[in-house]
Every structure is written in C-alpha cells, then in structure tokens.
C-alpha cells in the first residue's frame, strides 16, 4: 500500500469479509468480494451494501448559503423543501462540470455529497467562489453506506422502523443500532435504496447489522460501476469533466426551469445557448454488437476512420449479458437507433445508439414524505 492511499473506517471489515482491496480515489477500497457479476445480479434482485465513505460529505451554512450555492449550481434551491435531495452540478464559468453532487436542505444548512476523487478540489473551489460568510465544513468523521436493491427497504425497515415512508429523493434523521443516522432514499444503481450517513466510530457495527440481514450482501466497486452504467448514470472523471457541459452530458433536467430564464449561475450563457441551439456533441448510450466489451478511451469513427467521438465508459452488462457503453458523439449521430463504428484494440466494432437507462430505473417515488 502506498502512503498516499488512506484507509477508510470499514477497511478491516472489507478485508475480513474477503474484499479484494484496490486503490481508488486515494483510498484502499474493495473492488469485489465473491465476484462482480454475482454481486451485480444480487443487487438487482435483493439488496447490496456498498461502502461509499470515500465520498465527500459537506455542510454548507451561513445566512446567504442558498444564494451563494445558486451562483455555482443550476438548481432551484429556493423550491427545495426540508429533507429533500436534488441532483445538481458544480459549474465553472464556461459551463463545464466541476463535479456532480447531491444537495439536501437540512435545517439551517445544506448537506452536500460530492465525489471522492474530487472532494478536495470542490472544497477549494467552493471556498474560493462563495462569500466569506458561507462556511464549507468537510465532515470527515462520518462514514457513508448505500443499501441498494428491491429488497433494501425490507432489510432496512426491520432495523429502522419508519424508514419505508421516505419517498425517492427525500431523507431524514433516524437511529440504526443505537447510532445516529441521516438516511435518504437515493443511490447510484437505478434501484430503490438508501444512503446512510453514520459516525465513523459506528460504521463497523452498522455494517455488521446490515450485512447480517438475509437480503443483504456486501458489494464492491466493480459492481457499483456496472450497475450505474446499466442505469445510464454518468461517472465523474470519465463521462463528465471540466470541459463537458450539462447539456452535452444529457443532464438538462438538472437545470431547473426557473434558473434557465433567470440565470445568475456560472456558465449560464453557454448553457442557455446550448439549450436553444443544441450542443455540438452529446452523451449517448451504445449497445455493442457481439460479446467483446468496448471500454473507455475507444474512438467513435466515421466512414473514413476519422475520430468523431469517444467512449467514456464501457463494459459488460451482467443484466443484459451484452457489452454496453457511454460515448460522446456528434449531435447528428445521437438519435437512438443510429449506427456507429468504434475503434478499440486495433479493431472496428459496430454499435447502435440506445436509449438510457439500459436497465429501467425502479425508484420508489410513492413513499410518503416525512
């Protein structure tokens, strides 16, 4: 282990359960336990427990926190009710994506969860751009777990009565095994499920409690990636980056109507223009012919072999038993059903633009709001 790779609160827990540890986002994290395909399918049919403690948990507070955040996020935070989450994007002045995140209104502050690999840069960016009376607190002493899958609600409501009443994209304060927890109905797999923020000192006990439920097995990063790919969810640093706008990335839903007209956020001019005229390129899903996966870095090529786009994520879909990918292609090639050629490993592959998600989302929107 190199010195630059830190350990997370559940490091020993993963090793004891047979997790194969790899470096990720500056930490040692489990890539798999029994195997990616088995873990993937288990999550789609039962419930998977993921350690996502590498992600950044931030509290943003101050009298003008809402106003300040709205200068960097295209979300309409004024309409965000107590305990509600919204998917949003941290933008730079050119409309590029600094990070994608979840923001929750929680009492007097906003609770923001950002990507692990980008959290320090995000904090620096927020502190640089926000007025000094807005405080960005990086909550390092909290672990974060995700319980995902159609039976997650059965397992969690046994331990946390009442949690089943949460609707998709809402959260609340609960207790689990005596530990104080902030639990939201959200996740990164396309399945119903929950994300659970708990004090790091309670992480092992809570992980044991969850993993002891008959529906639950621990799931590594490998399946987390294949699950989110099937769900059509972009991964920052791969499908999104500083040079990509929300419109190119197909994330226009994250620009609320209110903000499109009113503006006042970083990159608004470019984003409004792309909304009106269409972007030059667009993130699409690809179904790949044959069985061989086409991975990140492969080129999308035209009839003469010129590069016209690139694959940003790709792999084998355990649910569909076929290779799938995400790519940026010219707008003219972005309609579902369009045939594309790809160059990977010195070979030409054929793909078809496919609507995403590849596997339908099964979010539980009907839970009663607390």
């Amino acid at each position: 282990m190199s010195e630059s790779e830190k350990t997370l609160p559940l490091d020993g827990w993963h090793r004891a359960r047979g997790g194969r540890m790899v470096p990720f986002a500056g930490y040692q994290m489990p890539v798999q336990y029994e195997g990616i395909i088995a873990e993937h399918l288990w999550t789609r049919t039962s419930a998977g427990l993921f350690d996502v403690s590498h992600m950044g948990q931030l509290l943003i507070a101050g009298p003008d926190a809402q106003k300040g955040l709205e200068t960097l996020l295209p979300a309409d935070l004024a309409s965000l009710q107590e305990g509600r989450l919204r998917y949003s994007l941290l933008l730079n002045i050119e409309g590029g994506i600094v990070d994608d995140l979840m923001v929750t209104r929680r009492g007097s502050h906003f609770y923001v969860v950002v990507n692990g690999a980008t959290k320090y840069g995000d904090i620096e960016y927020l502190e640089d751009k926000l007025p000094r009376n807005i405080v960005v607190d990086h909550v390092k002493e909290q672990a974060l777990l995700a319980l995902q899958g159609p039976r997650a609600v059965d397992a969690l409501s046994r331990l946390v009565p009442g949690v089943e009443a949460l609707g998709f994209m809402s959260g609340g304060a609960f207790e689990i095994g005596g530990a104080r927890a902030w639990i939201s109905r959200s996740g990164y797999t396309g399945e119903d499920g929950f994300e659970i923020s708990i004090p790091a000192r309670d992480a092992t006990a809570v992980a044991d409690l969850l993993a002891d439920q008959p529906e639950v097995r621990p799931i590594g990063l490998g399946a987390r990636d294949s699950l989110r790919l099937e769900a059509g969810l972009p991964l920052y640093g791969h499908d999104l980056d500083h040079g990509t706008t929300p419109i190119e990335a197909g994330l226009a839903f994250a620009i609320s109507k209110q903000r499109r007209a009113g503006g006042g956020f970083a990159g608004w001019h470019r984003i409004v223009q792309e909304l009106a005229d269409g972007p030059i390129r667009k993130r699409v899903g690809l179904a790949i012919e044959g069985r061989q996966p086409v991975r990140e870095g492969a080129m999308v090529v035209d009839g003469e072999g010129n590069e016209v786009g690139k694959v940003t994520s790709g792999g084998f879909s355990p649910s569909l038993e076929a290779p799938i990918a995400m790519a940026y292609v010219p707008l003219a090639s972005a309609a579902p059903g369009t045939k594309v050629s790809l160059l990977a490993r010195g070979k030409i592959f054929s793909g078809t633009v496919a609507a995403m998600p590849f596997v339908p989302h099964r979010y539980q929107r009907k839970g009663a709001a607390l």
Binding site: I36, I37, R291, Q292, P293, R295, P318
Partner: protein
Amino acid sequence: MSIYYTKDHEWVSVEGDTATVGVTDFAQGQLGDVVFVEVPEAGRTLSQGGEAAVVESVKAASDVYAPVGGTVTEGNQAVVDEPSLVNTDPEGEGWFFKLTLSDTHELNGLMNADQYKAYCADL
C-alpha cells in the same frame, strides 16, 4: 506429459511436440468474471511471446501471449461460446488453443509447477 508456466500466467501442457495453452487459476482469479475470449484460428503461426489470444473480464481486457512458438492446430470453441469456463476450469476445459511446437528448446526458459507457485507467492 509436462506442464510449464510463464510469468504472464499462462500454462502450457506438452505431449510430444503438441502443446495445449491456457491461463492459470491465479490469472483467472485476478481477472475476475471472464465475459469474452478470442482464440487463434487453426493454421496461424505464433512466435514465442507474441499476442495469441484475448481474454476480457467485466473489469479489463488482457492479451494472452504464446508461451512457445508453433502452428495452431485448434482454438477452443467451447471457451469462446462459454467464457466462464476460464473461471470454473482454467487449467482443464478452459484451455485456449493447441499448437505444434516449432522449437522444443523454447520450453527451457519456462517455470515448472513449484517455481510458478513460488513466483505467484512473491507477487
């Protein structure tokens, strides 16, 4: 019959001048779930250390190199049709290809089972 191993985690089982090649149990464990295999066609000439086959898991793509040079007599269609054979029986039904050795001296540089075991233990 003698079995030899390479540092790239291929095994080669030799009977007379015929060799069968696959990837080791250690290799399949590192790869994880194998989802795609490409094997060379009969008649193709391989040189020692050259690219011979492709194996892809959910996570990553890897080349399989020829442990010894020779002429391919058969690629294993069973492993192409059912790539998970590489995980379930890597040193049996999950073989990749057979070839006729061009130079048996090339076997001299390979490891035996004990040497390979020690090599993996050090990784």
